[in-house]
């Protein structure tokens, strides 16, 4: 087939294309993923029973804000990496900021209470954290990968990592409503690792 014939073929009845479809698709995937994670959390783990008291503790909100900030940065990265020719820009800094912030809080906590250090780092549920955050990230992971498949990531491994981190961060935010831990060192270590598991998985799946 001549190139001109191909062009005629592609152009004939090509029809209109809805502008910025990816925005709706991402909104759909994130909405469904968040609802899915919330259902899994309520059914399998349960909301922490003392949540009414916990909302008065600043660390409760830090524990929510940390994954939420990472989710925002990962979403930005995923949106940019989903389509050809979009520069990633300063996404690295946007992602590093919440990590550095929680590490500063963690360092202050560790310095402030030298005798409690082991407890601040290990808490009582670190193993559960590493299992449950990836588990709660599954619905968003599936949704965001579906959206990315309909788009055209030209750097698939990086795009997959961003998708995985996004899923992990949303999973962690939902898990924060169940998890009884409140120490910054715990969150800065185990929550971060819990989110990095789906991110690493995403890079592998993306690169295929």
């Amino acid at each position: 087939m001549k190139t001109d014939d191909l062009i005629t073929m592609l152009a004939s009845d090509a029809g209109a294309v809805a502008p910025r479809v990816w925005q709706q698709r991402y909104a759909l995937a994130l909405g469904a993923g968040l609802i899915g994670a919330a259902l899994l959390m309520v059914l399998l783990l349960g909301v922490r029973p003392d949540i009414a008291d916990a909302v008065w503790l600043p660390m409760f909100w830090v524990k929510l804000a940390f994954p939420a900030a990472l989710a925002a940065g990962a979403l930005l990265a995923a949106l940019r990496l989903s389509r050809p020719g979009v520069a990633i820009g300063h996404v690295g800094a946007v992602l590093a900021a919440p990590v550095l912030a929680i590490w500063v809080l963690a360092a202050l906590a560790l310095l402030g209470a030298p005798e409690d250090r082991a407890m601040l780092v290990w808490g009582e549920t670190w193993a559960a954290c590493l299992v449950n955050i990836p588990m709660l990230s599954v619905p968003t992971f599936v949704g965001v990968f579906w959206v990315m498949k309909t788009l055209a990531p030209v750097r698939p491994a990086l795009a997959g990592a961003a998708a995985g981190l996004l899923a992990g961060a949303l999973g962690a935010a939902v898990y924060a409503l169940h998890c009884p831990e409140l120490a910054a060192p715990f969150i800065g270590l185990w929550y971060l690792l819990g989110m990095l598991i789906p991110a690493a998985l995403g890079a592998l799946v993306g690169a295929r």
Partner: protein, 176 residues
């Protein structure tokens, strides 16, 4: 070129045709400069990239520089080709490189070695027939639906999936 694409995305067929035409010239130059050692592959890759641009046209944001978008797609296709070539050439006689110099056919730019028409025949009917009726014979969705006995929605899906499948067939063909 950007205005033509935006017109095309809005449903203006003539503008979209003109865009693809301009794009093919642009791609030919872009790829020829980067495939100096594989001149016979240029036109194949032009066609493959045109198909990719068409299949991915919903990922273009009107606020985005057009060249960045186009070049990212073209470069992806180029790297993909070179990677597959590199894997295969290990087995080839290195003399092939010398011989290729005499076998260059630079004149007829519009001839590709890859026969998309033949690849099209390999698609299942539910994808092939909508493409043949709508894209080659110029029937409308309603007419194509009547001719195939498919619903209008199925015809549209068939064209969409068929062009994606065609892009995948081209890739696999290369690996042979």
């Amino acid at each position: 070129m950007r205005a033509l694409l935006i017109g095309g995305l809005g449903g203006d067929e003539a503008a979209y045709h003109a865009f693809l035409k301009d794009l093919s010239r642009h791609l030919r130059g872009f790829l020829r400069a980067r495939l100096a050692r594989l001149p016979d592959d240029v036109e194949d890759l032009v066609q493959e990239t045109l198909l990719a641009v068409h299949n991915q046209r919903h990922t273009y944001d009107p606020g985005q520089p057009l060249t960045a978008w186009i070049h990212a797609i073209a470069r992806y296709k180029l790297v993909d080709l070179l990677r597959r070539r590199a894997g295969r050439d290990v087995l080839n006689d290195p003399l092939d490189d010398e011989l290729a110099v005499f076998a260059v056919s630079d004149t007829d730019a519009a001839d590709a070695r890859l026969d998309l028409g033949k690849l099209l025949e390999q698609l299942p009917d539910r994808q092939r027939l909508p493409i043949v009726h709508m894209k080659l014979e110029g029937l409308s969705v309603a007419e194509a639906a009547r001719a195939t006995g498919m619903s209008e929605a199925a015809v549209k899906v068939g064209v969409h999936r068929g062009l994606k499948a065609l892009a995948a067939l081209i890739r696999n063909k290369r690996e042979e």
